[in-house]
């Protein structure tokens, strides 16, 4: 039983019709909705209540300090169709609401978004580092375009007790 991708896309688009957003179709099996952070919760609620797919991933995109904006892409997949909610974030005030009350397993993706891009996800249950090491300095966001990796870190070799 192969589910028709275009039919799923049409259903998804109908579910999100109440929101006003710019719609683009970058690939035949994808629709992108550009939304403001305030619209995120409602959009996810509409998709979950309409039983349209599952959260595939949350991708952070940094357009650079000159552009002054970032995006958080919330990808939802249903069989072969993908709907992406492109949340426009201002670099000076990077905040999005949490969707963990709707999708509990989104906590991992939100933690990654916070630690890698410095986006504040309001109301998220767990704000610990997911991938970054414990001693990582706060305020340093590796995936932002204006951060150059310190290359490489000099580690003093431990003078361990070593005898033949």
């Amino acid at each position: 039983m192969v589910v028709d991708t275009q039919a799923r896309l049409v259903q998804g688009e109908a579910l999100l019709a109440p929101l006003s957003s710019a719609i683009t179709r970058p690939e035949p099996n994808r629709i992108d909705f550009a939304l403001e952070p305030e619209q995120l919760y409602m959009a996810v609620d509409l998709l979950i209540n309409g039983k349209w797919g599952y959260l595939v991933a949350i991708t952070g995109l940094d357009h650079g300090p000159e552009a002054g904006r970032m995006e958080a892409l919330y990808h939802f997949g249903s069989y072969g169709a993908v709907i992406t909610l492109r949340i426009q974030i201002k670099r000076t005030q990077p905040c999005v609401p949490t969707i963990c009350s709707l999708i509990p397993s989104a906590t991992f993706y939100e933690r990654e978004l916070m630690e890698m891009f410095g986006v504040i996800v309001e109301g998220t249950p767990n704000t610990d580092y997911l991938y970054l090491p414990e001693g990582w300095p706060s305020g340093v966001y590796p995936l932002r375009k204006d951060w150059e990796p310190v290359n490489p870190l000099l580690v003093p070799v431990q003078e361990a007790k070593h005898e033949q």
Binding site: L132, P133, E134, G135, W136, P142, P149, V150, N151, P152, L153, V155, V157, Q158, A160, K161, H162, E163, Q164
Partner: protein, 155 residues
């Protein structure tokens, strides 16, 4: 009550040393630790225990606790998160202890050299006695490396 030996040249000391070396060389206990590798080297290390390569015929046993181990077989380019644990495990091992670095990531950071959360190789963190290159090294190469380390102990 331990035997009190006063001089290095005592014949008893020589016998004890010979016995210890014989035990260590003929039946070393290995501890495996993955310091952030992609698992390629780890599954080749695990494959050395399986019937085709069978490391146990050399008397080598894979152990669970650092406190029982003679040889630390380590893979991975040592991520920052794993670094403290690696040092702690190394310190928990009783002396004399040896470290074998397996794979090109463990030698120099491999493909990940220069990445922001990587220490560029195990010898940046703890002293290493044997290096086994490869991405990943074949199980035969791993066995060869461990056997070379053991025969160097005999000398």
């Amino acid at each position: 009550m331990a035997v009190q030996v006063k001089e290095n040249t005592s014949p008893l000391r020589a016998v004890m040393d010979g016995l210890k070396t014989w035990a260590r060389v003929n039946s070393p206990w290995l501890l495996h630790f993955n310091a952030g590798s992609c698992n390629g080297c780890d599954i080749e290390i695990l494959a050395t225990l399986t019937p085709r390569y069978d490391l146990e015929r050399f008397g080598i046993k894979l152990e669970g606790s650092p406190r029982h181990a003679d040889v630390l077989v380590c893979t991975g380019p040592v991520t920052l998160q794993a670094r403290e644990r690696l040092i702690r495990i190394y310190e928990q091992m009783p002396a004399p202890k040896f470290v074998v670095a397996v794979g090109s990531c463990a030698l120099s950071g491999g493909a990940f050299r220069g990445c922001y959360s990587v220490c560029n190789g195990i010898d940046q963190v703890i002293p290493v006695d044997a290096y086994i290159p490869g991405c990943p090294p074949r199980p035969e190469a791993i066995i060869d490396g461990v056997v070379k380390l053991l025969s160097s102990l005999q000398r």
